[in-house]
């Protein structure tokens, strides 16, 4: 019987794999012809990254050499692109007049890299990363010392940048999103990847928007970003994604959406023509990874050999091919409706693992730094096995889970071998801990930490160490509750977190969460604002404030009210105002129909009921009259209340108003652990009520009494006298030093009086009153921090307004449907 004629369009991974699947089932059924536009035998495209990095050669990545084509009697048109599929005549026509009649066709044209339509995109040295020609162009440009820019921080872009760096270039990845490989990684894993890439010579620019490719003499010379930065380069790689190559299918009249539409048997709208790989669209999904391609090819092989081929779509998993960077991601790694996260971090080894459980089953995972269990998780995911009974140990991976299956947690710990590592950070095994407990009579977690270092770093293993104490000592062990944790995301207290931020030079929220073993992917509404403040305080000018970690009031510089409107309070220095200011306020009230105007307890005016979208215009008008934000919304310096002092008062001993104005002008803009209110009274009659403020000054004939730790809110508390200063200058220095000490030591949301109760008035006095050097150093640190914080937030926001920051992002007419 004459063989049927099978024509394969595409000599890549999909086309040749489909042929193999056919040959495997029925080697004699077809006479096979393959068209390949690339003039090469079939090679493993996903291994191009190691070729670029110089870790493999082209010969290493060939899948089928010429002997394979010969041995199976395959006619191979190498370097011949197909120009037409003539379905009426059942003929495939290639460029140059080659014709191949067919009974069946497999479309496997793959995909095209997307080229961004940037000015300068046609310059020499601008390449994509798709085939061996691209790799050769990159290698040719990769002279040591040369510079490369890669647009696109996805899998391919990162592999390209790594490869170029490995060739001795300095490489920079420019990524539009805030998270590298955002389709595979969450923010925590992306943070670790960014650091790992730096170690390998690859810099990262996140949230980087490309504006123009710059050139010189027709060759690329740099990339201009929208923020005005220029990244000089000798080669520019675009790795921003792929587009199914389905033009041929469309021209042939087949159904095409994004890709050539196929059914579960991999048939296109013409049942004689099948399609596999990246040029297809199956159940609305286009794929760009290899595993689905293999599954599609198997189904195509079955269909073409008379079986019922059925492809059901693929679950996806990804590994990054960067040497020494172990990354795995699969499924709903970011969670989803009804999902729970289990997070493990080991700062010592740079490990981050997150598994996502849904309905008792594993729904996804992202692993960084230790991905050997990736395949196991992926199997659990695809099999849909119930993981409820292995939940406790799931995050520790297959070996531990399989070893301890069915045991309760205490028994599981008891059953661990003496050599089993408990503390990954310090490499302490179980035997060393139990040995020390028995041998040295240890009875507390702190003692175990001191002697063995177990649980002394990131603290992730603390529950295990406590179980060991319990098992070894029995009833003699009472778990130490330790300091109150910052929130449910961590076991650490505020003090430890603040200390480690400085000690380990942690400069971002993801860095803190990784180093201190946070158990949630991105914290919560309690810890994020605290960390944001601690970082801002520790690294003035260096740390980039994270608006999304601030409470709404600090994000929009106004106080949210019960109806979702806002109140706006301009600063009135020391409680002084003028006709011009009052007139401007009156105009703003009229212009924006502000319903309520009220005097506050801090001697200034509150405008209540401002609509969010009006805020920028309200500020702009107030700014124009010389007024700035009063920070009435912030964990920050609020007001300095004053009385009229010697200017007017017959009892006044000093210029209390003047000192109040000086203090407010010096301290405004400072972020503090909680709100900070000051007052200056001109005599002991204390009309400014300085003795119930966080910091108060009572003027007397001989100078200035400095008070701290008052409160008149939830708690009523009179101040304590800290000491006395002789001059205004000295008073201001002492108050700046107190403020800075409080900024550096206070726990987030802890008012000065609580901080004082905790650390002791005597200690504060010893530092800021008695130790002139310490006071001067605090003062200098405060001045330095202020140099970055005294920008009026209103003016800043008005100057740099994004359209939907305050106004809705869209306005819809008719109704919406709620689920």
């Amino acid at each position: 019987m004459a063989r049927e004629k099978l024509v394969v369009i595409g000599n890549g991974m999909a086309g040749c794999r489909a042929v193999q699947e056919v040959l495997k089932r029925d080697p004699d059924r077809y006479h096979i012809t393959i068209f390949g536009a690339e003039p090469r035998v079939n090679y493993d495209r996903i291994m191009l990254s190691p070729v670029l990095a110089g870790e493999k050669t082209f010969a290493d990545i060939v899948i089928n050499d010429e002997a394979w084509y010969r041995g199976h009697g395959i006619v191979f048109h190498s370097g011949v692109a197909v120009s037409e599929i003539d379905r009426a005549a059942q003929v495939v026509r290639g460029v140059g007049g080659i014709e191949a009649p067919y009974d069946r066709v497999i479309l496997a044209m793959g995909s095209d890299p997307i080229r961004l339509p940037l000015p300068g995109a046609d310059l020499k040295g601008v390449v994509t990363f798709r085939d061996l020609d691209d790799v050769e162009a990159m290698i040719a440009a990769a002279k040591p010392g040369a510079r490369a820019v890669v647009i696109g921080g996805g899998l391919l872009g990162i592999e390209a940048a790594y490869g170029l760096a490995k060739r001795g270039m300095s490489a920079t990845v420019v990524h539009l999103m805030d998270v590298l490989m955002e389709r595979q990684l969450d923010a925590s894993a992306s943070y670790l990847l960014t650091s790992a890439l730096v170690d390998r010579g690859v810099e990262t620019v996140l949230a980087g928007q490309s504006q123009e490719i710059l050139g010189k003499d027709g060759r690329v010379s740099g990339l201009l970003l929208k923020d005005g930065r220029t990244l000089p380069c000798d080669i520019l790689v675009m790795a921003v994604g792929i587009r199914p190559n389905a033009a041929l299918a469309r021209a042939a009249g087949l159904e095409v959406n994004r890709g050539a539409v196929v059914d579960d048997a991999m048939r296109t709208s013409d049942p004689q023509i099948l399609a596999v790989g990246e040029c297809t669209e199956h159940r609305g999904q286009c794929y760009g990874l290899v595993a689905p391609i293999w599954e599609m090819c198997r189904a195509a092989g079955e269909t073409l050999t008379g079986q019922d081929g059925a492809y059901q779509g693929s679950s996806l998993s990804t590994r990054l091919k960067v040497s020494g960077v172990d990354v795995f991601s699969a499924g709903k790694f970011g969670g989803g409706e009804g999902c729970e996260d289990i997070v493990f971090r080991d700062a010592g080894r740079g490990v981050y693992k997150r598994v996502v459980i849904e309905d008792g089953k594993l729904a996804g995972a992202v692993l960084f730094g230790e991905a050997s269990d990736g395949a196991w998780y992926f199997d659990l995911m695809r099999s849909g096995a119930d993981v409820t009974d292995i939940r406790e140990t799931l995050i520790f991976g297959q070996t531990i889970t399989e070893g301890l299956r069915g045991l309760d947690p205490s028994a599981a710990v008891a059953a661990m071998a003496d050599e089993a590592e408990i503390c990954g950070c310090n490499g302490v095994c179980k035997g060393a801990i139990t040995g020390a407990i028995v041998g040295q009579g240890l009875t507390s977690l702190d003692a175990v930490r001191a002697v063995t270092k177990a649980s002394a770093s990131c603290g992730t293993c603390t529950p295990l160490v406590e179980k060991l104490l319990g098992l070894t000592l029995g009833a003699a062990f009472k778990a130490d509750t330790g300091p109150k944790p910052v929130c449910k995301c961590t076991a650490h207290g505020h003090e430890h977190v603040r200390r480690q931020i400085v000690a380990e030079s942690l400069k971002s929220i993801p860095a803190v969460m990784q180093a201190l073993g946070w158990t949630t992917p991105d914290g919560c509404s309690s810890c994020r604002p605290a960390l944001n403040y601690y970082l801002l305080c520790a690294w003035p000018g260096d740390y980039r404030d994270d608006a999304q970690s601030r409470f709404v009031n600090e994000r929009v510089h106004a106080n949210i009210q019960k109806d979702g409107t806002y109140s706006v309070v301009p600063r009135m220095w020391g409680g002084l105002t003028s006709a011009a200011e009052l007139r401007a306020i009156a105009d703003v009230v009229d212009k924006f129909a502000i319903p309520t105007v009220k005097c506050t307890g801090g001697q200034r005016i509150d405008l209540l009921g401002v609509k969010k979208e009006d805020l920028p215009a309200v500020w702009s008008d107030l700014n124009a009259a010389g007024m700035v934000s009063g920070h009435a919304y912030g964990k920050a310096l609020r007001t300095v209340k004053t009385c009229v002092g010697t200017d007017w008062c017959r009892f006044g001993t000093q210029d209390s108003t003047g000192l109040g104005v000086k203090l407010e002008r010096f301290l405004w803009g400072a972020w503090t652990p909680a709100k900070l209110k000051l007052a200056v009274s001109g005599c002991p009659r204390n009309c400014a009520e300085a003795t119930c403020k966080d910091i108060g000054v009572i003027c007397v004939d001989s100078g200035y009494e400095i008070h701290i730790g008052g409160a008149a809110g939830l708690h009523i508390k009179g101040t304590e006298v800290l000491g006395k200063a002789a001059t205004e200058t000295e008073t201001i220095e002492v108050i700046a030093a107190i403020t800075q000490l409080y900024r550096e030591e206070g726990w987030y949301l802890e008012r000065i009086y609580k901080w004082m109760d905790r650390v002791g008035l005597e200690r504060i006095r010893a530092i800021v009153m008695d130790d002139a050097d310490a006071r001067a150093a605090l003062y200098q640190r405060f001045v330095h921090a202020q140099s970055f914080s005294q920008m009026d937030p209103w003016a800043e926001r008005v100057a740099d307004l994004r359209p939907n920051d305050f106004a809705p992002m869209a306005v819809l007419g008719a109704g919406v449907s709620a689920e």
Binding site: G334, G336, P521, F551, I560, G813
Partner: protein, 119 residues
């Protein structure tokens, strides 16, 4: 050709780019029936809820987004973005209705009820 059921039930309205919403942030869409909050989580998922906390009607779009939840700016109730239901101690006390939302080519599409199709 018959349209699938869901596209008869809803029109999908483009309300802006995903990139217009800050990561771990939210934006609102104004409608005749009140605002809708659109959230973008740290792991790049987008959710939409009626912008009213089930507690005292606080604008959820102004809260801190963490994990798959938002903390209401008025009294710190934590609302699950997928279900609109309060979590923790406040679980079971009402919900903020969810709005179908999907992402296509970097754009946020919101389900939009029109009653009958005009095309």
């Amino acid at each position: 050709m018959n349209a699938p059921i869901h596209s008869i039930a809803h029109d999908w309205r483009d309300v802006g780019a995903v990139a217009d919403i800050p990561l771990r942030g939210a934006r609102r869409v104004q409608t005749a029936q009140g605002d809708i909050a659109i959230f973008r989580t740290g792991d790049e998922r987008v959710f939409a809820l009626i912008d009213r906390c089930p507690h005292k009607g606080g604008p959820l779009s102004q809260g801190i987004v963490h994990g798959q939840a938002v903390a209401c700016p008025l009294h710190n109730w934590t609302i699950d973005l997928a279900t609109g239901e309060p979590t923790g101690a406040d679980a079971g006390k009402g919900c903020a209705p969810t709005i179908p939302v999907r992402i296509e080519a970097g754009r946020v599409l919101l389900a939009h009820w029109t009653g009958d199709r005009d095309d």
